[in-house]
């Protein structure tokens, strides 16, 4: 995801603004019980970096767990320092008076296991050797990341979340949570996501991984005491960025315009604005992200398939007890609307109360990170009704009874 998009920060969302959570402090929590992983190995100890916003109420029924996407982190909203140039990655949705209203809800977000933003990942020290894991880090799946975060939520004393949510990979985690822990959330908001990444998505991830592994500095993942594979990671990010934007948006934003020049140079210097933009994004990314984490997390995304171990997606959703809001964006071709509809179809076949919304806009996959009135309204309206239901049992959208139960005859 492209958190580097230039989005104007509204005055009330700037540090000290009325709708900003303000200064926030990253926290960490470590558990020593080995985390059993899908690959058959286990991981211990597991540290997770996380942030929280708002207050957990005495009934402990107002907690929302947000999952970040591929290149995200636990820093969802607010600022770490007063002079931070920009707030957390979902600040447009998280804060007092915003859709994830921190004056009503207790928001938690943790960096995924395998990541490089404070949680245990390939750059962490392997307790066996005292050196960074590198490729000795076990392969982690979306399910493993979710299991680790369940430990964190248990640790925070929350039995049942009001909602789990996320976009893109974060949406996959929300789906996984709702299936894996049916009693541990009242609702799930799955945004710009899929129950399984399509071949095109896997293809782009693989190009990114190959770019990293072809960089001589990658050194089979063992580069932590030397030069890092900047060129490879930068290319991976450039490829990723192409998939986050729409053709329409690229045309409007860059067209065929040249960067800082009037005419072609007939050489291989950066000439087009779109080249310059992608290189800038690539160069910025290598300052903040670990190449091995990029390999591990993209692989986890590729492996994700909710139908694993089931005959169909319908069967996978059989035990689900949450109600769902599924949102897609019309110009998103990485996680296209048709894949959101696949989720909705399988949920509805199970009678699960499901709301589906397709938001028309031109921003491609990145749309889920950008301010959108429709997304804001959908999130705030949905959360409010879920909370009414949890609190008062009012207006609850229950599961449709199976046709066999003929309690009602017309």
């Amino acid at each position: 995801m492209a958190t580097d998009e230039k989005v104007e920060i509204a005055p009330d969302s700037q540090p000290g603004g009325a709708r900003s959570v303000g200064l926030v402090e990253p926290k960490t929590w470590t558990f020593d019980d080995p985390l059993a992983l899908d690959c058959g190995r286990s991981l211990s100890p597991v540290t997770q970096a996380y942030e929280t916003y708002g207050e957990l109420n005495p009934q402990r029924d107002n907690a929302i767990l947000i999952f970040h996407a591929l290149s995200g982190d636990a820093h969802v909203a607010g600022y770490h320092a007063p002079d931070d140039p920009k707030p957390g990655w979902w600040d447009c949705l998280v804060g007092p008076g915003k859709p994830f209203d921190t004056s009503k809800y207790f928001i938690v977000c943790a960096n995924v296991v395998g990541g490089c933003k404070g949680s245990t990942g390939p750059a962490s020290a392997d307790p066996q050797t005292g050196k960074p894991y590198g490729l000795d880090f076990p392969m982690v799946t979306i399910g493993d990341m979710v299991k680790a975060q369940k430990h964190l939520i248990d640790h925070l004393g929350i039995e049942r979340l009001l909602a789990v949510t996320g976009g893109s990979m974060g949406g996959m985690m929300a789906l996984d949570w709702a299936v894996r822990y049916p009693d541990a959330t009242a609702s799930a908001l799955a945004i710009a996501t899929s129950a399984r990444l399509n071949a095109q998505g896997i293809a782009f991830n693989e190009v990114g991984r190959q770019a990293i592994m072809a960089d001589p500095n990658w050194h089979k993942g063992d580069y932590y005491d030397r030069s890092v594979p900047q060129a490879g990671l930068s290319i991976a990010r450039m490829v990723g960025h192409i998939t986050y934007l729409s053709e329409e948006q690229m045309r409007a934003k860059f067209g065929r315009r040249l960067q800082d020049r009037e005419s072609f140079g007939y050489d291989f210097e950066t000439e087009f604005q779109v080249e310059s933009y992608l290189q800038h994004q690539g160069n910025k990314f290598v300052q903040r992200f670990d190449a091995n984490s990029y390999l591990y997390i993209t692989k986890a995304i590729d492996y994700f398939d909710l139908t694993n171990g089931h005959r169909s997606l319908v069967e996978a959703f059989e035990g689900v007890r949450a109600e769902f809001l599924v949102v897609s964006f019309s110009s998103d071709w990485l996680y296209p609307t048709v894949e959101s509809k696949e989720i909705v179809r399988a949920l509805q076949a199970n009678g699960v109360p499901t709301t589906f919304l397709e938001i028309p806009n031109a921003y491609g996959h990145d749309a889920f990170l950008l301010p959108s009135e429709s997304l804001s309204e959908a999130v705030s309206g949905f959360l409010a009704s879920v909370q009414r239901c949890v609190r008062e049992g009012e207006g609850c959208r229950s599961e449709l009874r199976q046709p066999s139960s003929k309690e009602v005859t017309l």
Binding site: E323, Q348, T354, L357, S374, A384, S385, R401, V408
Partner: protein, 201 residues
């Protein structure tokens, strides 16, 4: 495309056809008011399908579970007999394939409740006869070139369709605008709006 403002009486009459705790699907559910009332008054289990984005957002605010999209596509997602009643309020005439819509309604639902403006009403007939112009009334407010109503029908037409499709007409309710219920006598001449409840024979 906007649906003519739905008035209270036809909502109330539709509501009266639906027993408590029924599973209800409303096609073209608009802002979800009818469904929210059914959920609130009768503890119904409600779902909606609506194509307009702003209306979908209104449904979400009301706490109505809604599918944003085409009604045939949306119904396709549900299992046979998933609902006790499927409602199509003043929208049949706007669908491109009314017969398929009705068939699909009776696949996912036990009964279908369908309301539509009666094109056989005397006022409509007179406009065409005397003025030679495409009729425009409160229930049919559009000019010929911008109307979403592509499949208008009369009460007699709809009854004939039911016969042809092997549908039992469980209830027929007729209204005269703005909000008066009338009997079945001469309904094809007199009714502005018809509400049919039908099911498979």
């Amino acid at each position: 495309m906007s649906v003519p403002a739905k008035r209270r009486l036809d909502y109330e009459l539709i509501e009266s056809l639906i027993p408590a705790r029924a599973r209800v699907l409303d096609l073209g559910c608009g802002d979800g008011r009818l469904l929210a009332e059914l959920a609130g008054h009768k503890s119904c289990e409600c779902r909606g399908i609506e194509i307009d984005e702003q209306a979908v957002l209104a449904c979400i605010r009301r706490g109505v579970a809604v599918y944003h999209g085409d009604m045939l596509e949306g119904m396709d997602f549900y299992r046979d007999g998933a609902f006790d009643a499927v409602i199509l309020s003043q929208t049949l005439q706007q669908t491109s394939d009314p017969v398929r819509v009705i068939e699909e309604m009776l696949r996912v639902g036990e009964t279908a409740i369908i309301s539509f403006p009666n094109f056989g009403r005397w006022r409509v007939r007179l406009q065409l006869l005397l003025e030679g112009r495409m009729p425009r009334t409160k229930l049919l407010p559009y000019a010929w070139h911008d109307t979403p109503n592509v499949h208008l029908c009369t009460v007699a037409d709809f009854r004939e369709l039911c016969e042809r499709q092997g549908l039992e007409r469980v209830r027929e309710i007729f209204l005269v605008p703005p909000s008066r219920q009338i009997g079945a006598l001469g309904a094809n001449w007199r009714a502005g709006l018809a509400i049919f409840q039908v099911r498979r024979r």
